[in-house]
C-alpha cells in the first residue's frame, strides 16, 4: 500500500463517502465481513435454516446428559444475547439492567408455577403472559430516560439492576438469598416436559420463534428506523421518526425476550437464586453480543455459542490448558502478517522458554521445582518449560503464590506496553517474552482459579475488541459522524 500516492489512490464513486467506501472495501476483504455479507444476501428461509440447523442436529450427535445440559445452557445464552442485541446492536442503547429482566421472567415463572406459589399454570399461557409483563416492566424502566441521551439510560438501568438485586435478596416474598427451589417443570396442554431433551427442544422452539420475529422486525419499517436512529438520532428526529417511542419499543422488545428466556431458565434449573442474575451474567452476555458483532443476528448467535462453549471448557484445568495454548497459538498464526511472522513468534517463544527455564535452574532452582496444576499430556511438557516455583514459602520469604501474583501484574503492564510499540520488528521481538510470561501466569495462577480467570479474560477481551475490532467477528464497522 505504501507505493500509493494520493494521486493514484482509487477514488470512491460520486455520492459515496470516502470513509464508508474504504471501510466497505476492508470489510469485503475480511472473512467475517464476507460471511456476513453472504448471509445478508441469502433468502430468508435459507437464513433460518443456517441459524437453526446446527442447533437442530446437535441432539442427534451427542448422547450424554452433560452435553445436552451444555446445549440447553447455550440456547438460553443465545436467546439472552438476541434480546440484548435489539437495544445494544440495532438501536445503540446501553441497557445495563438487562439481566434484571431475565431474572424477573424467571421469578414470574416461579410465581405462577411452583409449590411455593401454590399454582401451576400451563406454559402456553404462562410464557406469553410473562413476556408481556416483562416487556411492560422494561417500558416503565425506560421512561425516566426518554428525554435523555443513552448515558443516562445506562445509569438508570444499572441502578435498576442493583435495586432488583436488593429486592431479591431482602424481600420476604422472594425468599431472599435462599431462592425458590421447588419450581414445577414446564407443562404444555397437560403434558409435562420431564427430560433434558424435552427442554432442549422447548428452548430450540423458542429460539426459532424469537429469531424469526426479530428478523421480521428488523427488516420492517421499525427496523430501518432503529438503524437510522442509531446512526444519527438528530437526523432521524428531523425525518419525523418518533425517536422516543422507537427507543422504548426496542427496550421493551429486548426485555420481553429476556423474560421468555427467564421463564424457560427457571424450570430448567428447577431452582432460582438472586446470585444467578448479577452483573457477572450481564457482562458475559455483553461479551457474547460484542464478540459476534453487535447488530448482526448471525454474529450474536455465533458469539454466544463461542463464549459459552469456551467458558464451559475453562471449567476443567485439562481442557483449559489446551484451550489456552490453542487459542493463543491460533490467534498469532491468524493475525501474523506476513504469514511467516506467526510461526516465527511461536517457535521463538518455545525456544525462549527452554532457555529461560535452563537459566533459572542454574541460578535459583527453587523457581522451577513446582509441577503444573493440570494432568493432561501437555502439562508434562509445560513442566519443563515454564517457571513453576514450589507453592510454599520460598527461601526469599515471599508468601505462597507471590511469584504468580507478581508475574500477573508484570504481565498486565507488559501487554499494555506492547500495544505502544509501533515498529513491527520490535513488536515481534517483544511479543516473545510477553507470551512466555503469559504462560507462566497461566500455569501459576489462572489455571488454579478458572472461575476468576474466565472473567479476567472476558474483561480483557471486551477492552481489546473495542480497541482493535469494535465490529466483532461479523458486525459492520461504524463511525461517529460529527
Amino acid at each position: 500500500m505504501s507505493d500509493q500516492t494520493p494521486e493514484n489512490l482509487p477514488s470512491p464513486g460520486i455520492g459515496v463517502d470516502e470513509w464508508v467506501a474504504s471501510a466497505d472495501e476492508r470489510r469485503a476483504r475480511s472473512l467475517g465481513g464476507r460471511v456476513d455479507d453472504a448471509f445478508t444476501r441469502a433468502p430468508p428461509v435459507l437464513k433460518l435454516l443456517v441459524l437453526a440447523l446446527p442447533f437442530a442436529v446437535f441432539p442427534l450427535l451427542v448422547d450424554s446428559d452433560y452435553f445436552m445440559q451444555v446445549g440447553v445452557d447455550t440456547l438460553i445464552y443465545v436467546l439472552l444475547a438476541l434480546g440484548l442485541n435489539v437495544a445494544v446492536g440495532w438501536v445503540g442503547l446501553l441497557d445495563l439492567g438487562y439481566v434484571a429482566f431475565f431474572g424477573i421472567g424467571a421469578y414470574l415463572y416461579a410465581a405462577v408455577a411452583s409449590e411455593y406459589a401454590g399454582r401451576y399454570w400451563e406454559a402456553q399461557f404462562a410464557i406469553p403472559l410473562i413476556a408481556l409483563a416483562v416487556a411492560a416492566v422494561g417500558l416503565v424502566v425506560g421512561i425516566p430516560s426518554r428525554r435523555l441521551s443513552g448515558d443516562y439510560l445506562a445509569i438508570v438501568t444499572l441502578f435498576f439492576l442493583q435495586l432488583y438485586l436488593v429486592v431479591l435478596v431482602n424481600a420476604s416474598f422472594t425468599r431472599g438469598p435462599n431462592g425458590i427451589s421447588d419450581i414445577y417443570p414446564l407443562k404444555f396442554f397437560g403434558k409435562q416436559v420431564v427430560s433434558l431433551d424435552g427442554y432442549y427442544y422447548v428452548a430450540l422452539a423458542a429460539f426459532i420463534l424469537v429469531v424469526t420475529a426479530l428478523y421480521l422486525v428488523n427488516e420492517s419499517r421499525t427496523g430501518r428506523a432503529w438503524r437510522a436512529l442509531r446512526e444519527d438520532e438528530l437526523a432521524a428526529e428531523l425525518m419525523t421518526m418518533p425517536v422516543n417511542r422507537l427507543k422504548l419499543m426496542a427496550f421493551a422488545i429486548g426485555a420481553g425476550v429476556a423474560g421468555v428466556t427467564g421463564a424457560i431458565f427457571a424450570p430448567v434449573q428447577g431452582a432460582i437464586f438472586p446470585a444467578s442474575f448479577d452483573i457477572v451474567l450481564l457482562i458475559t452476555v455483553y461479551a457474547m453480543v460484542v464478540l459476534g458483532g453487535a447488530g448482526s443476528l448471525l454474529g450474536v448467535i455465533v458469539g454466544a455459542v463461542v463464549i459459552n462453549v469456551s467458558l464451559e471448557a475453562l471449567r476443567s484445568p485439562d481442557d483449559a490448558s489446551w484451550l489456552f495454548y490453542g487459542v493463543v497459538a491460533l490467534t498469532i498464526l491468524l493475525l501474523g502478517r506476513p504469514w511467516w511472522r506467526g510461526p516465527v513468534i511461536i517457535l521463538g517463544t518455545i525456544a525462549f522458554g527452554f532457555v529461560a527455564h535452563e537459566l533459572a535452574e542454574q541460578v535459583r532452582p527453587s523457581l522451577v521445582e513446582g509441577t503444573s496444576f493440570g494432568q493432561a499430556r501437555i502439562d508434562e511438557l509445560v513442566d519443563s518449560w515454564v517457571l513453576l516455583p514450589v507453592d510454599i514459602v520460598t527461601p526469599d520469604g515471599l508468601p505462597a503464590g507471590a511469584f504468580g501474583r507478581l508475574a500477573y501484574m508484570g504481565l498486565v503492564a507488559a501487554v499494555l506496553a506492547l500495544t505502544l510499540i509501533r515498529k513491527p520488528l520490535w513488536r515481534t521481538i517483544a511479543i516473545v517474552p510477553v507470551l512466555y510470561l503469559a504462560a507462566c501466569v497461566w500455569e501459576n495462577l489462572l489455571v488454579a482459579q478458572p472461575a476468576v480467570a474466565r472473567f479476567i479474560l472476558i474483561g480483557g477481551m471486551l477492552v481489546a475488541l473495542m480497541a482493535f475490532r469494535p465490529q466483532g467477528l461479523f458486525g459492520k464497522q461504524r463511525v461517529e459522524i460529527v
Partner: protein, 315 residues
C-alpha cells in the same frame, strides 16, 4: 422525636455524602471533558482502598504502626491518590483513547470490560475475603467531638475535612489555574480549544489523573470509616457517585459536591427511618430504593440536575 438518632444519622449522612461527592467529582470532571461515562470509576475507588490497606500493612498495621497515626493516614491517602491517578491515566490511554472517534456506545462497553477486569484482577490477587482496616485499633472510638447529642468520632471529622479540603483544592485548580482554564475550554468545545493551542490530549490525561486520584482518596476514606473493603465494593460507590453527579448536574463541580451530600444524607436518613415509616415492612437495605426514586424524580423533572445547564444539541 429521637434527636440523638437524628443527629447521628445526619453526621453519618454527611460522612457518606462527602465520600460520594469525591466520587461524583471525578466522574463529573471526566464527563465534562470527554462526555464519557467512566463506568470503571467505582473500581478505581476500590483499588484505592486496597492501596491504602497495603500501605497500612506495610507501615506496621493498625495495632503497631511504625509512624505517627496522623502521618500514617496522610501517607495512606497520598499513596492511594498517586496509585489511582496512574491507574486512571492507564485506563484512559489503553481503553478510551483508541475510541475517541468510535460510536458513543463503544467506550461504554470498553469501560464495562475495564471494570470487570479490575474487579477480577483484585479478586485473583487478594481473594474474596473482606479485608479490614482495623480503624478501631488505629484510633480510639472515644476520640472526637462530644457536645450534647452531637458525638462525632474523629475519623468522621477526618473524612469530612479531607474531602472538603480536596474539593476546595479542586475548585481553586479549575477556576484559578492555567490547567483549569484549559480544562474548561476543552469541556466547552474540544476542537476550538485544540485550535487555540490547548494540548487536548494532555488536558484529558491530567483530568483522568485528578479524577482518579480523588476516587483513590475516597477509597481510603471509605476504608477508614467503614473498616471493611473487598473487591466488589466499587460497584456501590460508583453507582451512588454517578447518581450524585446526575442529581447535582453532570459536569458541574459544585453540583457534584451538593449532589453527593444530598445522596449521602438521603441514604443515611432512609437507612435510619425506612423501617419506622413502613412499619417494619421494608428493612434498611431498601434505602437504595429511596436513592433510586430521587434519581428517577430528577430525571423526570430536572434532567440537567441542580446546577446543570439544559443539554442543547448543536448540529
Amino acid at each position: 422525636m429521637d434527636w440523638d438518632k437524628l443527629v447521628q444519622l445526619l453526621v453519618s449522612g454527611l460522612t457518606l455524602g462527602s465520600v460520594y461527592a469525591l466520587v461524583a467529582l471525578g466522574f463529573s470532571l471526566v464527563y465534562g471533558i470527554l462526555k464519557l461515562l467512566n463506568l470503571a470509576h467505582g473500581d478505581v475507588l476500590m483499588v484505592g482502598a486496597f492501596l491504602g490497606w497495603g500501605i497500612l500493612g506495610w507501615l506496621g498495621g493498625a495495632q503497631d504502626p511504625s509512624v505517627a497515626v496522623w502521618l500514617l493516614i496522610v501517607l495512606m491517602i497520598l499513596g492511594a491518590m498517586a496509585g489511582c491517578g496512574f491507574l486512571g491515566v492507564a485506563i484512559e490511554r489503553f481503553a478510551y483513547r483508541p475510541l475517541r472517534r468510535a460510536p458513543r456506545i463503544a467506550p461504554l462497553i470498553s469501560a464495562l470490560g475495564v471494570s470487570f477486569f479490575i474487579q477480577n484482577s483484585v479478586l485473583l490477587l487478594f481473594g474474596a475475603n473482606f479485608r479490614s482496616y482495623e480503624t478501631f485499633d488505629l484510633v480510639d472510638v472515644e476520640v472526637g467531638i462530644s457536645w450534647g447529642p452531637l458525638n462525632v468520632w474523629i475519623i468522621r471529622l477526618i473524612v469530612m475535612g479531607s474531602a472538603f479540603l480536596m474539593m476546595a483544592g479542586l475548585w481553586l485548580l479549575v477556576t484559578r489555574s492555567k490547567l483549569g482554564k484549559a480544562m474548561r475550554a476543552t469541556s466547552f468545545d474540544r476542537e476550538a480549544a485544540a485550535m487555540m493551542g490547548v494540548d487536548v490530549d494532555r488536558v484529558i490525561v491530567k483530568t483522568f489523573f485528578i479524577g482518579s486520584a480523588l476516587a483513590g482518596a475516597a477509597g481510603v476514606l471509605v476504608g477508614l470509616v467503614f473498616g471493611q473493603i473487598n473487591h466488589f465494593m466499587g460497584f456501590n460507590y460508583g453507582l451512588k457517585g454517578f447518581t450524585a453527579a446526575v442529581v447535582g448536574g453532570i459536569g458541574s463541580i459544585p453540583g457534584a459536591m451538593l449532589g453527593g451530600l444530598l445522596i449521602g444524607l438521603a441514604e443515611a436518613l432512609s437507612v435510619g427511618y425506612i423501617e419506622d415509616f413502613t412499619r417494619g415492612r421494608l428493612g434498611s437495605a431498601f434505602s437504595d430504593l429511596i436513592v433510586f426514586l430521587i434519581l428517577v424524580i430528577f430525571m423526570l423533572l430536572r434532567p440537567q440536575g441542580i446546577f446543570g445547564k439544559p443539554d442543547l444539541k448543536k448540529v
